[in-house]
Structures are given as C-alpha cells and as structure tokens.
Amino acid sequence: MKPLRSIGTAVLLTTLVMIQACGGGSTPADPPGAPSGPPGASGATADKGGAGELITAADLNLSAVDPAMAEKGKTTYDVKCQACHSTGENRVVGPGWKGVTTRREPAWIMNMIMNIDVMLEKDPEAQKLLEECLVRMPNQNLSKDEAREVLEFMRTL
C-alpha cells in the first residue's frame, strides 16, 4: 500500500504545481533542502521530477551507457511503454524511439515521461507532438529511477 500512497502524493503534487503554473505562469523555485544527488542514487520519488518540477540538464549525469540500467529500462518499456512506442523509427501511437536521444535533450525526455501534464501545458515541442499524435501521453507514474532507466534503454537504440 505504501508505495501506492507515495505515488498518489506525487500525482497530487504534480497537479498542484500544474495549477500553480497555469495560474501564475511561473515555475516554482526549488524548495530548500531538495535532494540533489546523482539520478538513481536515492530511491525516493519525491525529489525533482517526482514532485512535478521540471528536470534540467544539471540534474542528469550521463556517462557511458550502463547496461544494467538499460536492461531495467527495457523491463519497464515492456510493461508500460511498448503499447504505444516501437523501438524502431516509426510512430505507433507515439513516436518511435530509435535515435530519440539524438533528437531530444535527455532532460526533455525525462520530463515527457514524468511531467507530461506540465510539458503539454508549456513546452512547444511537446504540444507539436500532441497535434500530431492526438493522444495525450498517459502518465504511467514512473519513479525518477525508472524514468532514468528508460532513458538509458533509449540510449541503446
């Protein structure tokens, strides 16, 4: 039950941030004491991204592809992403993933996975994709670690 509740909280916070963003148009500043370790270092979901704050390039530390992480990302892909995204170039429901890490910034990809509502509200590229696909990408409630693993899997494609 517990993980469900924390995910629930994350959704609620996401919604709150979204409402705030819609109302004021400004992105809230980092809360004091927000964790800033390397991605995947902590199991918490309530850090950046999980709380609906947009992830920036500075939050990601990409080095050589980590095969173990990529493997985990593939597992998540099979359960939660494959229904709409092929690992090839062509669109199924959403865009194909082959080469996606060369087309998009890693932080942008992370935000599309974790903060889809905020992205569709604010990001012109995300809005362009919605016009093309006409299906709002489901929020599959990935933790930040899971999203990072999926990104790693994308890097192998």
Binding site: M1, P3, L4, R5, I7, G8, V11, D78, V79, K80, Q82, A83, C84, S86, T87, G88, E89, N90, R91, V92, V93, G96, K98, L134, V135, R136, P138, N139, Q140, N141, L142
Partner: protein, 664 residues
C-alpha cells in the same frame, strides 16, 4: 378460516382509519412543498465547482442492494458502490473475478436488500478505513474498503433470516454483529421441517459476532448466541463505561407467527436485549460453546490477483445463554421497540417503541446495579428480565408520533426521527425535555449526524432519510426517487438547508469528515504488483490459447487501442474468456470492454487491473468489440473484431494487432 379472515379485514380497516387520522392531523407533515427555508440556506450548501465537500455520507441503497456515497453539504452523489446486487456500470457480479463475491449456499445471488451502513471504528470513533453494510434477504454482511471504494468481502450468516439488526460494530471493530429479524427452526433437515405453529417450541433467534481480520478484511463468524424465538430489529454497541456490551431491540415477544401487525402488538412492552459480549468472547475462547455443523460462504476480493475467492465454512460456535447465565438480560421497553441507540458517553441507551407515545432512556449504571442485585421481573424463555423501573433513566414524554431512531451531537442532545408525525425532534439527554422540532418531507426513517452514533460526534448536520417524496421534485411517473434532507444543527434551532434525491431506499447512513477518507485513496493499481493468473504485463505478453472448447485471450488496453484487436479461429459454442489488463498507470483512466451479443454487461477495468469477460458466441460472423468508457480523442477508434466460424471449422486460432507503419 372464514372467521379469521373477517377479523383480518376489520383490523386492517381500523388500521387504515388510524393511518388517515395521523396523516390529516395538523403538523404531521408540511402542508405545501415550500418549507421554511431562509435565503442563507443556499450559500450553506453551495460547494463551488472544483471544491471538495466537507463530509462523505455513506447512504444505503435499500432495495437496490448497493451503497451510495454523497458529499455533504452539497448533496452531490459521488459514487454508487455495488455490494449485494450485480451492477452493469462496473461489471460487478458479471466479470469472472467478481462472481465469487455473490456466491452463497443458495448459489449465485445477484440481488439483496441492504439497510445499514456502519463505519469501522478505532477507539469508538469512525476511522475512515471500512464501511460495513448488511444484506437482509439472503443474510450477508459486506465490508467496503474506503481506499478503493469497492466491496472487499462478503460473509453469509447461517441460522439467520432477515439480517436486520446489523452490521453494527464494537468500538475497535473487533466484531461486527448480525441479528436475525425472523426467528427460525435450525439444525438438521428434520429439525427444520416443523409446523409453523410450533414457533414457541422450535423457533430460535441468533445474534452472530463476526470478526474482520484487521489487515485483510477477511471475515469469519467468531460465535453465535442463541436467543428465544422473537424478531430482532436494531442494535448498537456500548462504549466508554458500557464497552463490552451490545444492545438489541426486539419485537414480537408475543411469539406470534401470523398477522404480526396485530398479533405482535398485543403487549405493552417488548424488550431491549443486553448482551455482555466480552463475557461471550471469554466463554467462546474457553470452549464453553457448542460447535454446530452449518455451511456458509466467506468471500474475499484479493487486490493482488484482482479476483474474488470463496471459502465455504463448515461449522459455527454457538453459546446458549440459558446455560451461560451471565451473558444476556432483557429490559422491558414500550412498545414494539425499533431503534436502540447508545449516547456518546456510553451511559444512556435510548429505546424507541414505534407504537409508544414516549421515548424510554435506560441507564447503564442502573442496568449493572439491577444485574448485580438480581432485580428481576421474572424471566422470558429462561432469560432474566430486569425490572423496567430499576433500569430506566427516564422517559421523554410526548415527543411525537412513531419514534424510530436517535442520533446524538457532541453537546448532550439527541435527535429522534418520528415516522408517523414526519419530523425530527431534538431533546436533552440530561433533562429529557423536547428542545426543538422540524418537519421532514416526509415519513422519515433513519437519520444521521456525522459520527452521531460514536463517542465523538462531529455534529454540524442532521440528515433525514425519507420514505415518501411526492410534490418535492419534478414528477417522474408513479415512482419518485426517495430523498434525504440536510439540516444544520449548529444553532439552537434546526434549520433546513437542502433536499436531495437518493438511490433505492436511503435506509440508514453514516457520515464522517472527508479528511479521514481522502488520504487512504487508491488512485490506480500498481501493475507490477498485479498477480492475476491471466495477467498480460505489457503487449508482448498478449496471446491466445485454446483448451478444448475454452479460448483464453490475454488482452491489454491503453489509450486508445486493444491488443490484440483482431482474433480468428473462434467457433460457435466456444467459451471465450477475454482476460483484459489495463496498462494505464494514471488516475481515473479505466477502459471498458463490450462485445456484440455478450449475455452479460461490459467490463470496466481500472488502471493496472485485470478483469475477465466470458462470452459464448452463438452465431457465425465477424463480431465487433469496443471500449465503452470514453478515454481519449481516439476513443471511438478503440475497437476490434472477432471472427466466429462454425463449430468444427478448421480456421486457425490467431490473435494480432497490425501496425501499418511500425518500424519493428
């Protein structure tokens, strides 16, 4: 026979005259549809769009067998939770996973009549974890999980008929009780096959103590207490000083078995039965009871396999208060008592004789003293009867006509519903004086104050649950929705704020602050924890398999398609099982599934859940299937086909989803 029929007509005739008299009496019900409502009432119930209500109100669906959830003060219906009756909206009782929930020793029962919601409690206060509700007709008790707002378990009650004085719970929900409305003969076939006129010798009542496991919510019967043959009506647990006791109202101490309307109204007083359940628990644990062979079902919904499981229990432990003499006492109560309510301090037990022109209030301290002093007024079928005067705290004189039920606020006031005179009467527990009265519209049954039967009522409102609504809403043919009415009780005078229509009969209800329920909310099921035996965890696990004439389809849904969406090789007469996993992990995105000609309802599959529809195709052709719950701009495109070939056909079994331009 002829003579008795004549008597019947005469008595019914005078009954009708009496009824007319009551209804034409001044002040028995409002004279017009316009009740006194001030201009401020509207602003007190207005909950602006996007805002939450302050309270959840769990209202029984009466003869619909369901439990509906309203927000207060708006009166907006938030949910109708299927419990004892099949429900096409969610496929409850239609999907293979939920069918076991409605299994009984009589087989699959798709309907019941539900009366009393009861919130689970911690230390005598509703905790927002569960809501219990009874099935009257085929005696059952259900536990609804307030995390999922779904029925989590249902237990059948053996040796019970008309499960009415249920499901009230002890202060920490150690037990939920069930009392039989009808007494019946029990035991072997021979012992049960007796003349009805042998009621006095052969008919017995039972009250059952059901234990819900605190974590899982699985239920079993801890013990039953055998009682003299009578009818049991309502019940409430003791609390504070009276914790450890249970009180039940009984009627028909005449032990009549025909035309009870007359024959069970002969005596001036019936009883309230006081049961020392802590003592009963001790005796049960010490093996002082008798294990009696019975059969009953205990059904439980497993949130990991998303599937109901039925267990058949084979015996029940019975305690006989004629042998264990300090378990049960009767207190005389005028006349045909209905409600039986314990005040927040636990000291006062309020009876309401629905045919009595007064409300008796009993004192727990005096009950204990009378028991200690053996202050008896004889016995009833071997059970001691305590002296009325010895246990009485006092009587509320001339409160109104037809007192039924009483709930309490936090300031020492009681609110009693008056069925015949259609009003709520507020009175003081201390002085027993009537303080205020308001008309209801009309024929009020139960009423509810948030937390009003607990140790700490939240007060603020009293809600009337009415049986008759005519002239109150737009006409809708001969039948109108029954209704509830919301009154403010914050001032000295009760103030009508709102009418709202309800589902079925809004028999009883309970309410508690939304803040106690909201944090427990489950928003979707984690697909990685799904242990359904036919789970397809992702589209790569979808497939089709034949086992004799059974065809199993592992199918997935996500906005906006099914996988597979094309199936061939199914034959007329096959039993096709669509096991559908909803891959969504987002709040409030269920997908529906319907297929042409299916003999049942659709499915509605929550995010992360797997549900199964059984379909037996009876005609050759290509049969469409589609999603019934609008899910996205491309919802209408969420569809597929099943090709059905004649029995004996050689068409190869296959299932696929073809993507025109997928790269791989």
């Amino acid at each position: 026979m002829k003579r008795s029929l004549k008597t019947t007509t005469l008595l019914l005739g005078s009954g009708a005259a009496l009824f007319l008299l009551f209804n034409t009496m001044q002040g028995c019900r409002p004279q017009t549809t316009q009740a006194a409502v001030t201009g401020e009432a509207g602003s007190k119930t207005y909950v602006k769009p996007g805002s939450y209500d302050e309270f959840y109100n769990f209202v029984s669906g009466g003869f619909s067998g369901q439990l509906s959830v309203y927000g207060l003060p708006s009166g907006r219906m938030l949910r109708n939770i299927p419990v004892f009756s099949v429900n096409p909206e969610s496929g409850w009782g239609y999907s293979e996973e939920t069918k076991p929930m409605l299994m009984t020793t009589h087989g699959f029962i798709p309907w019941d009549d539900s009366h009393h919601p009861e919130l689970s409690m911690t230390d005598g206060v509703p905790d927002g974890k569960w809501c219990f509700i009874n099935g009257n007709n085929t005696p059952r008790i259900a536990l609804v999980d307030l995390g999922t707002f779904r029925t989590k378990s249902i237990i059948e009650i053996p040796n019970c008929a008309g499960n009415h004085s249920s499901p009230f719970t002890t202060p920490n929900s150690e037990y939920v009780i069930s009392g039989t409305r009808f007494s019946i003969p029990m035991g072997t076939d021979t012992e049960r096959d007796v003349p009805i006129e042998s009621y006095r010798e052969n008919f017995k009542g039972t009250v059952s103590f059901i234990h819900p496991e605190p974590e899982s919510g699985k239920m079993s019967i801890a013990f039953q207490i055998i009682t003299p043959g009578m009818n049991f009506d309502l019940s409430h647990t003791g609390k504070g000083p009276s914790d450890g006791w249970f009180f039940f109202s009984c009627y028909n101490s005449e032990q009549a078995y025909s035309l009870l309307e007359v024959n069970a109204s002969q005596r001036d007083k019936d009883f309230i039965m006081a049961v020392n359940w802590k003592k009963a628990e001790e005796y049960a644990k010490a093996g002082k009871g008798r294990k009696v062979p019975v059969e009953y079902y205990s059904n439980w919904y497993n949130d990991e396999t998303h599937t109901g499981e039925s267990t058949v229990m084979k015996e029940v432990l019975q305690l006989d208060p004629r042998e264990l003499t300090d378990l049960v006492y009767f207190m005389p109560c005028p006349k045909s008592p209905h409600g039986c309510d314990v005040d927040p301090t636990g000291e006062y037990i309020v009876g309401s004789g629905k045919l009595a022109a007064l409300i008796p209030v009993f004192s727990f301290t005096k009950i204990q003293a009378a028991i200690a002093a053996k202050d008896h007024d004889g016995d009833f079928m071997g059970i001691p009867v305590l002296k009325y005067e010895s246990v009485l705290h006092g009587e509320v004189k001339k409160p109104g006509l037809g007192p039924l039920h009483t709930e309490f606020d936090a300031n020492g006031n009681a609110y009693t519903s008056m069925f015949v005179s259609s009003e709520i009467v507020k009175w003081s527990l201390k002085s027993l004086e009537v303080l205020d009265r308001v008309p209801t519209y009309y024929s009020i049954g139960h009423l509810c104050v948030p937390g009003g039967d607990s140790k700490k009522p939240w007060g603020k409102y009293v809600i009337a649950y009415n049986k008759i609504t005519k002239d109150r809403f737009l006409p809708t043919g001969p039948e109108l929705a029954q209704s509830a009415q919301l009154f403010s009780i914050e001032g000295d005078k009760m103030e009508l704020l709102l009418d709202f229509p309800t589902i079925g009969e809004p028999h009883y209800a309970q309410a508690l602050p939304a803040e106690l329920v909201k944090p427990r909310e489950v928003k979707f099921f984690d697909i990685n924890k799904n242990k359904h035996p036919y789970l397809a965890k992702g589209e790569s696990e979808t497939r089709i398999e034949r086992k004799g004439n059974e065809v199993h389809v592992w199918m997935t849904t996500i906005r906006s398609h099914f996988t597979p969406d094309n199936i061939e090789g199914v034959k007329v007469g096959d039993e096709v099982y669509f096991h559908i996993t909803n891959l969504e992990q987002d709040w409030d995105v269920p997908h529906g599934f319907a297929i042409k000609g299916a003999a049942t309802a659709e499915l509605l599959i929550m995010p992360g859940e797997t549900q199964t529809l059984k379909w037996v195709p009876d005609q050759v052709g290509v049969v469409p299937m589609y999603c019934t719950d609008f899910c996205s701009a491309l919802h209408q495109e969420m569809q597929g086909y099943v090709r059905v070939s004649p029995a004996g056909s050689k068409v190869e079994l296959k299932a696929e989803t073809r993507s025109v331009d997928a790269g791989s």
